[in-house]
Symmetry: C2
Subunit: 224 residues, 2 copies
């Protein structure tokens, strides 16, 4: 069965995603992408204007898929549930596409240098969805009065860092500097969900920073 043009394009994008995640925009080689895609280098320039255009399309595809999933979360659900779903949904996607968090971490560090308006706008979709959920929870009194943007970073930061940092974390585990147990993604998602829920629903005294509540009992079951 002959390879269709559509195939070629897809293979290039697939390879590009990996290569850009591995080495970043500057570090990625068009030659390497061609080799990874098992496609002739000239084909890349046939399908894409240049390296940067390829990069942008890679990111656009990735981010629009993620934001689409996040936007699909039922808006009628209560904010606490929506945040939980947001975390699950995002985490699930980031696990299916481990390249995304890595690319995101880089682009964050870089200040979006290689992006155009359109790609940036696509990336914003995620932030808008996230902050909207938080703002709604604050408005209807479900959450304590947090700043939606600050809170958004508090939720997404761990997601990106944990899932994007998987390679280096595995290295640390291999070197026995981190314990191996309890570091699977499912545990992490549950941990983050609980953590965020607690952080958003105020106990009796949020303001008194010095007050310490003594724990009455140790929660049974494994660590969250």
């Amino acid at each position: 069965m002959a390879r269709t043009p559509r195939d070629t394009r897809t293979r290039i994008l697939d390879a590009a995603r990996l290569e850009f995640a591995d080495r970043g925009f500057a570090g990625a080689g068009v030659d390497t992408i061609a080799r990874r895609a098992r496609v002739n280098k000239a084909m890349i320039y046939y399908h894409f204007a240049d390296k940067q255009a390829l990069y942008r399309e890679t990111l656009s595809d990735l981010f629009s898929a993620l934001t689409a999933r996040v936007r699909a979360i039922d808006e009628a659900l209560p904010p606490a549930t929506r945040i939980e779903r947001f975390i699950e949904t995002a985490a699930g996607f980031l696990q299916q596409h481990p390249e995304l968090p890595r690319i995101m971490l880089r682009e964050l560090a870089e200040g979006g240098t290689h992006l155009d308006q359109e790609t940036l706008t696509t990336m914003q979709g995620l932030a808008l969805s996230g902050t909207a959920i938080i703002a709604q929870g604050v408005a209807d009194g479900t959450f304590r009065p947090v700043h939606p943007v600050l809170t958004y970073f508090t939720v997404v930061g761990p997601l990106m860092m944990y899932l994007g940092g998987a390679p280096i974390r595995h290295e640390l585990v291999r070197r026995k500097l981190f314990p191996a147990e309890g570091l699977d993604s499912e545990s992490f998602v549950r941990h983050l969900q609980t953590f965020v829920k607690l952080g958003l629903t105020a106990g009796p005294d949020t303001r008194a920073t010095t007050a310490r509540r003594r724990p009455t009992r140790r929660t049974p079951g494994g660590p969250t």
Copy 2:
């Protein structure tokens, strides 16, 4: 006053820090570093073996300074206070050296490809200090029984992402896609401190994921 060799070396390291933060290892140019340091390019190769050695020394310096500060937090303090201090201390340093979080985000994404044993070990110091505090709090019952490593990422993730992502966040604010108010670093630090404290000290029912506690009153004062 003549420029001492010490000066030259320092100027190179200063420039390298900025350039590596701006463009990453692959993107950084030795030529550019020389220009930024107002030093002849050959001087870089006189003081450092090659680009990679310069990179490693840059990171080593940065991370050992940070971990030194974090380690200086009084171990006798109660865990809840130590975590608070940890956040303040780290955030303070990351603001003084905005290059660090950006470099860290990149290196995380890259899996530590450009690092040697020694540099990696230095970077681990931060993680060890952080997880030690959390483990102690869990052990003495101050915190609920969380996994120290998962929690560590939950604390450091927002720090790195918020402070390292400053450039792109400013861009989003400039484009009026994020509100400008309340996004200063001090607000963020307070927000994170409160959030983490709530997330670590269990309310009545941590385990029942479906149970919802209805808020009794809106906390007065600005959002945290």
